[in-house]
């Protein structure tokens, strides 16, 4: 196995995530695309960990940290979406232009 095949797969998934963030209108689906990008980053971290044969398993440990922070991010993100929905009766990112000049 070469390192490049994992890196290209990670890059493709990250690009799909970027596309999703840019095109989705529903706020929950934007968060879903962010999760896709974080999963792509995890693939890169673990692949480099194995590539460098790290004695400290740094890549794997940081993949675990990314998973933990992503879980926290989803919790907060969904709470904010819920609050917006409760106040404005929809969760479309296009309609959130309160701070626009």
């Amino acid at each position: 196995m070469t390192i490049v095949q994992f890196l290209v797969l990670g890059a493709a998934m990250f690009s799909f995530g970027v596309y999703g963030v840019l095109t989705r209108r529903n706020a929950v689906l934007v968060l879903l695309s962010v999760e896709l990008m974080l999963a792509a980053v995890n693939i890169n971290l673990v692949a480099f960990d194995r590539f460098l044969a790290d004695q400290l398993a740094g890549g794997q440990v940081f993949a675990l940290f990314v998973i933990a922070v992503a879980a926290a991010e989803v919790g907060i993100g969904l709470a904010i979406v819920l609050l917006i929905f409760r106040n404005r009766r929809n969760a479309n990112v296009d309609d959130l232009d309160l701070m626009k000049l």
């Binding site: 799909f16 095109t23 879903l32 999760e35 673990v46 400290l56």
Partner: protein, 189 residues
């Protein structure tokens, strides 16, 4: 490693068998016109990444992805969709119109080409050494000896997110009592 060497290795076919369905799922996550299908395809993409971690020999990360992502985060997303009353059937309004999707496709496509080019330039043909799978024991020792301060920081972040999530999502107690009062006033009228 040349392409003929790559084709001769059996584990690369396992990689392809995981990677191709995974990319299809990832595409459906961002392009599906049904919200629930989007979330369920995310399960496919994450399960693919867990299978790749197993292939790379990092078992603890793989099972953590299964437990935390597929077990908890996806359920949380489904709750979010149900609570915000997203349209459950087909809906073309989920994505931006084509004139906004095209620039997004150009941006993400050129990002992919840029990253792929840089990676082939830097690591083209470098092989991942065949070492033993990382034991969970070693990962645990590493976390609690070398990476203990980042670990503590992550635990504080989780605590802050817990408190913040509860504060954001619950209703204000004063607001709730006012609603109860106004509802009970409406009944006699």
């Amino acid at each position: 490693m040349t392409f003929t060497d790559w084709v001769a290795q059996a584990e690369n076919y396992v990689f392809l068998a995981i990677a191709i369905p995974m990319l299809f799922s990832a595409w459906r996550v961002v392009a599906s016109q049904n919200v629930v299908h989007s979330v369920l395809y995310l399960v496919g993409a994450l399960a693919g990444s867990a299978a790749l971690f197993l292939l790379l020999g990092s078992e603890f990360v793989a099972w953590t992805v299964v437990l935390v992502y597929i077990g908890a985060v996806v359920v949380l997303f489904l709750f979010g969709i149900m609570i915000t009353r997203a349209p459950l059937g087909q809906d073309v309004e989920l994505s931006q119109p084509l004139r906004q999707r095209l620039p997004a496709a150009v941006v993400s496509g050129s990002l992919f080409l840029l990253m792929t080019g840089a990676m082939f330039d830097a690591f083209g043909g470098d092989v991942i050494p065949e070492t033993e799978a990382t034991r969970t024991f070693d990962v645990g020792i590493s976390i609690f000896e070398r990476w203990v301060i980042p670990f503590e920081v992550v635990s504080v972040i989780l605590l802050a997110a817990l408190v913040g999530g509860i504060v954001l999502a619950r209703r204000d107690p004063d607001e709730m009592t006012e609603e109860v009062v106004s509802e009970s006033e409406e009944v006699p009228q």
